[in-house]
Subunit: 640 residues, 2 copies
């Protein structure tokens, strides 16, 4: 009998099919023609029927479906290790967003994605699901690498690195979909970033686009407890019912994270066949929590596993993720039988494909499916010995004892991308060099910024304004409390814009005296009855001062910048990391007065058990400053 | 100026010293003479002063103290993947203990430890802390591999693979300590297994031995919530105060796990300078929980990181453990700033050394310390790019983005154990072969056992006894309930040993009919008022029966084994994995009667709303069985 000729024959491997019967062939073979699997089974049976132009001996290896990275932001590989161990807001608003705003362009997305593809191929990934900007560039990199991917173009209510508004993003996404639809490797997708960065209108437009082209819709859902809390406050509903009410689930949804879903939300998502991408490393590292995925699986949801971006992981190692997923269900939900190795390996392969709505193409080794395969060394010291008693022990070997670096060969769409750990489609050295060019610019940008409190503050603040250079002030201690109105009467003047407030000041002090001081001030404005009317928060940067004494008053010359404090004191503390802090709490009666055609502010402060009166003004002019200092002396004389 | 000659010069690496100032040298060198570090600093400075016989270029590498695996059972590498995803009791009593009882001997400990050493060297470990049996064999393997280790000889109240009682273990341990004391690589230790496997006397003897020779005492503390609960029930105290009351902390304690410590227990341990070995993978995999190590560190405890044994991990990868340790503190205790990378890397190195009471020898790169060093490639795709803005980013690179397989060279006590990922002291192929010989025997043993319910039951049951082969029984349905005393009166006989009980039976049925059925029975013995007097649990294996009908009765011929059920129904369910289960609940009045010199048992059963009377007996003799069947017919006739 003459043998049929195929392109590639994988032989003598331990075949883990992940098909519907979870068939295992301890000595198995796979025949590949063009981009598809045309036969598989025992080595004897396949080798008897097929011959091949390329013959890959898989002795001592496991032949498995390639891993499916169900959620990542590939290009963020360029931001790996940029900022770690920070709270989400400091990480995001302090580092990620300022750097993305400055650096994310087409070249960034192309180069970062190439770096990510190299890393993913090296760790046995054959398909990934992406969400980022300039996805056409991500597609270009992915095709060059030879990987399969679902590529979601990000859409946000606010401006993003590739669009000034969401209409532009949707238009970009439409062009992107049209360009890449029906590509053998790429499935374009619509990626509204998250419920909390969407409006109902925006979501509906995204759904319409996804439905029009029958492409997936990739989004983040319920990543943090805060997201659910805010959703309840804003919409009187948790996120899934709110998304459902705007028709989100008409599309083929791929929902990343899902850490804080209620059971009813799991049921809703299951009814609509929405897929879940579980990202355990990222959810731990950013302290979001642990998604109860065994429960989701019990509800019938398809749960895949994703690495998330390298900026919050910090690698794209699906072996790590899969092991961690299994460990976490057991340890955090108090039952070692949860997410057994077989279920975990399913999540990394066939269930991942189902979650991404592409199980007709990939995720298992079956005749007719695309040849997306990882060949994994299984006889290394750290995987030894093997026990044959339980045939399913192979899953435990894969999940609990195998490392990404044990992946020996990778095939995607019938094409060998890695052989004996050499990348065949990519020039890794060149990619590292290109990546380094971008990272060096980012490094220089941030190093400059970090070396200067002002630029560090400017990077995260929209309304920062410089104030007058000269500050003229006199400060006298009063023997006891008097009302500010009594003082102004004594001066024979009128109170202008009087206010009563409690002020809570925190000063950040730095090692470098030249850096100046930062003041975070909470102003609680009270009415006459002492009830709270309003609170506002300001951030003031005061440069080092040159001080000049006048009679009874001083003139300070220094740069001074002020802005509304949009973040919490804790945020600023973690972002600026001052050497030390000082707190000042005072009760202040404040008003303005006009004296000799000049306005001054008057502060009557009670600090602990002391009472101070301040008379102050500011100006851009040195000459004016001296004039005002003289006027302040006159005022003080009247008060004696 | 002439240069001083040393043995080894490491140059051009990124030097991460972990010394008390946490000094970093981005281009650094280390000079090694004999087994010690004699100089380190910038490459320029060191290369100007030293020349060497061996020169190791560390360009693109990080030079770090080697990792310290603070808790493992090295020889258990031979049990890797033997049984996974099981609950602790099924795993331990069903698989680990029966296999250890059967296979753990000197050769097992030597071979298993060699396999573990190979794996540990490959992942950058330079010191490990062990607890197992036959530690002299572990020592022999460790010295052959060239690693540094603290080796704790296990001491238990019950018999162990290397001793029939704890006095023997203590004697073994004393000999072991004397033999290995003052070895340059080995520090022998006393290892009472855990509080719950110790008596006060045994602990005191262990402490005395450790104090006599000034060696560490290695033990498991507070691994599970159950351990604390049982301690409270038994000793009216959590474990640490109980251990303290028996003087445990007079020794240099190394406490593994510490998952469920109360704050007061942390304080106690800190006061006694006890070290902690955190084992995050094992604690998750066996569902013990997550130890709050950031809190322990804040209390001033020294916390190292351990892999635990490969049977519950399933590898000895300290990079995985360290990353996981950092992730878990953040994710489970809701704060991403907990256990930052620098602290995590400390735990894996210098703090591990402090926890093991050997920081005078190792754990950091400092002049005078032993040369225990890992040289780690840092420019791979998965670690790229690098940012220089924050010099401490090197710790994030090590903890979050580096893999065990990035370790390029390993030096211990001044000797190169691995160079360019080749092991220089070990014949890895031969070790794998030797390990396989043992694993194949274990595999055969368990395969035979698993194929047979009886041997599977025997493996976990002490008091299992075969019962009489022949069972003679008649069963009639009664139209309504009558007291059993009335029935016995009708027969004109006396009630012997009457009891009243509720019986809850669960039958496990298997695919293989020949396997027979297993019955788990809960007997609740009641007094006449129906109050519970006593509960007992039995496990009965009933082989397939040959049934022979007699007038009104049957004789069953079958093997039948009975034992006290020492574990829970849930345990047996998970251990035997029956295809299906049947439950029978009945109220039973039971007594014995003597008729024609022969004793029978009489069971009056109420099942749902039916009433049955059974007359039964058992015998070893076929002839006797027929005789008894005839007597039962007579008894039945009297009841008509």
């Amino acid at each position: 009998m003459s043998k049929e000729t195929v392109d590639i024959l994988l032989t003598n491997g331990y075949l883990v099919t992940m098909d519907s019967q979870m068939n295992l062939y301890p000595t198995g073979s796979v025949a590949i023609k063009d981009n598809k699997i045309v036969a598989l089974g025992t080595a004897a049976e396949i080798e008897a029927a097929y011959e091949a132009t390329t013959f890959i001996d898989c002795q001592n290896c496991i032949i498995s479906p390639g891993l499916i990275n169900a959620h990542t932001h590939a290009a963020m590989n360029l931001l790996r290790g940029l900022a770690d161990d920070l709270r989400l807001d400091v990480w995001l608003y302090g580092y990620m967003m300022p750097v993305e705003r400055e650096f994310v362009d087409e070249n960034f997305c192309y180069t970062g994605s190439l770096l990510a593809c190299a890393e993913m191929i090296r760790s046995g990934v054959t398909t990934f699901c992406d969400m980022y900007y300039n996805e056409a560039e991500v597609a270009r990199a992915t095709v060059e690498a030879g990987l399969r991917a679902i590529l979601g173009q990000t859409i946000l209510i606010f401006s993003s690195p590739d669009a000034t508004n969401y209409d532009e993003s949707i238009e970009y996404c439409r062009r992107f979909i049209k360009e890449w639809l029906n590509h053998p490797l790429i499935i374009p997708a619509v990626a509204p970033h998250a419920p909390y960065t969407s409006t109902a209108d925006m979501l509906q437009a995204c759904v319409a686009l996804a439905v029009e082209f029958d492409v997936p819709l990739h989004t983040h859902i319920a990543e943090t407890a805060l997201e659910q809390e805010n959703s309840l406050n804003q919409h009187d509903s948790t996120v899934v019912p709110w998304l459902e009410s705007h028709g989100l689930f008409k599309a083929k949804v791929i929902a990343a994270h899902c850490v804080h879903l209620e059971e009813s939300e799991m049921r809703t998502m299951q009814q609509y066949h929405a897929g879940v991408a579980h990202c355990p490393s990222s959810n731990l590292k950013l302290a979001s929590g642990v998604a109860p995925i065994q429960k989701m699986i019990d509800f019938g949801l398809h749960v895949g596993i994703g690495t998330d971006g390298a900026a919050s992981n910090n690698d794209l190692d699906m072996f790590e993720e899969t092991r961690l997923a299994a460990f976490l269900q057991k340890g955090v939900f108090h039952d070692p039988t949860l997410l057994p190795a077989k279920t975990a390996w399913s999540a990394a392969t066939i269930e991942g494909a189902r979650a991404l709505h592409i199980d007709h193409l990939t995720g298992s080794l079956e005749v007719g499916k695309r040849a997306d395969i990882a060949i994994i060394s299984a006889n290394n010291a750290h995987q030894w010995p093997h026990f044959a008693r339980d045939p399913e022990a192979v899953y435990a070997r894969l999940v609990y004892a195998t490392k990404a670096t044990d992946v020996r060969d990778v095939i995607v769409d019938g094409k060998v991308l890695m052989r004996q750990r050499k990348l065949l489609t990519m020039n890794e050295q060149r990619i590292l060099q290109d990546a380094e060019k971008i990272s060096k610019r980012i490094d220089a940008f941030l190093t400059a910024r970090e070396g200067n409190i002002l630029s560090k503050l400017l990077a995260i603040t929209a309304d920062f304004v410089p104030q007058e250079t000269f500050e003229i002030q006199a400060k006298v201690e009063l023997p006891q409390w008097v009302e500010i109105s009594t003082i102004v009467e004594t001066l024979g003047l009128q109170m202008i814009r009087p206010t009563i407030r409690d002020q809570y000041d925190t000063y950040f002090l730095f090692d470098d005296k030249e850096a100046g001081r930062l003041r975070y001030r909470e102003d609680e404005i009270k009415n006459k009855q002492g009830e709270l009317k309003e609170t506002f928060y300001t951030m003031t940067l005061m440069g080092p001062a040159v001080e000049k004494d006048f009679e009874n008053s001083i003139v300070l010359t220094r740069a001074r910048y002020m802005a509304t404090a949009q973040h919490s004191l804790r945020f600023y503390r973690e972002y600026f990391r001052p050497r030390t802090e000082q707190e000042v709490v005072k009760h202040r009666q404040r008003c303005h007065i006009r004296y000799q055609e000049t306005e001054f502010s008057l502060n009557l402060d009670k600090l602990a058990d002391k009472v101070y009166l301040e008379i102050k003004s500011r100006t851009w002019s040195a000459k004016d400053a001296i004039h005002k200092a003289e006027l302040i002396s006159e005022l003080l004389a009247k008060l004696r």
